[in-house]
């Protein structure tokens, strides 16, 4: 039973429809990322009062999140 399910999943994941679905998921999460980053950046710039901690947080946020987005993108290309 499990083996049959596995085979079915494997066959389905190879399909173009699944790839389209994965790209849609990526697009949705990327959109959420863009909007949230914009909002956070707005708050940090407007209310952060140019504090060193805020500048550091800004740096850490993008230094980690941009590679994560790239990893997701490359993984999707190789699927």
């Amino acid at each position: 039973m499990l083996s049959a399910t596995s085979t079915l999943i494997t066959a389905t994941l190879g399909g173009t429809a699944v790839k389209t679905a994965l790209w849609s998921v990526f697009g949705l999460v990327f959109l959420i990322y863009l909007i949230t980053s914009g909002i956070l950046l707005f708050h940090w710039r407007k209310y952060g009062m140019r504090s060193k901690k805020v500048v550091f947080a800004e740096l850490v946020y993008f230094l980690v999140s941009v590679p994560i987005v790239l990893i997701a993108l490359f993984a999707l290309i190789f699927v």
């Binding site: 956070l40 708050h43 946020y61 999707l76």
Partner: protein
């Protein structure tokens, strides 16, 4: 730091910033770390315990697993920074003239209130439990004399006793008519 959006008076200066204790944020960080390591553990368990054919199927989909894990990490990272922003932008500024209370209740909910020292009726501090005593944090509450204004409260404020002393000191100077610079 640049305090332009606080609209300070010309002879006003900030004496102290009061924030919630970092331990408040620690809960979010620990939860994020747990959620960060949860999928790989689940993945390893699946590989170890599932029948070979199914496990083989999973390993064949390395890039799909990586894709979803990366998205999961991205969402965790975003939520962590939303929490940090809410934590960091929630602050009291004690100036030589008043207390400015900035409450960041959510990413789209921000309140700024002022309280002059002559309107202060009482300041109470509540430190509950061993952890709060050891790390020196507690709830701070400034009661106002004005009928139509609300009390100022900060949960888990850092070193609340020192803040209470400072506010009383400023209040007494204001009451005795000593110019505070």
């Amino acid at each position: 730091m640049v305090f332009t959006h606080l609209e300070l008076e010309p002879d006003e200066r900030i004496i102290r910033e009061v924030r919630r204790h970092w331990i408040v944020l620690l809960g979010h960080v620990v939860l994020t770390v747990l959620l960060f390591i949860f999928p790989p553990i689940l993945y390893l368990i699946a590989l170890a315990f599932l029948p070979d054919k199914v496990a083989g199927g999973i390993t064949n989909h390395f890039f799909i697993t990586l894709f979803f894990y990366a998205l999961w990490l991205l969402l965790l990272w975003i939520v962590l920074f939303i929490n940090w922003t809410n934590y960091y932008l929630d602050v009291w500024y004690v100036t030589n003239k008043r207390i400015i209370d900035i409450e960041q209740k959510g990413i789209f909910h921000r309140e700024i209130s002022n309280l002059r020292f002559d309107k202060i009726q009482d300041v109470t501090v509540e430190v509950r439990g061993v952890v709060a005593t050891f790390f020196k944090f507690g709830d701070l509450r400034v009661q106002t004399a004005a009928e139509n204004s609300r009390d100022f409260t900060m949960k888990s404020a850092t070193r609340p006793e020192e803040v209470r002393k400072l506010i009383f000191e400023m209040h007494n100077k204001e009451s005795s008519g000593v110019s505070i610079t």
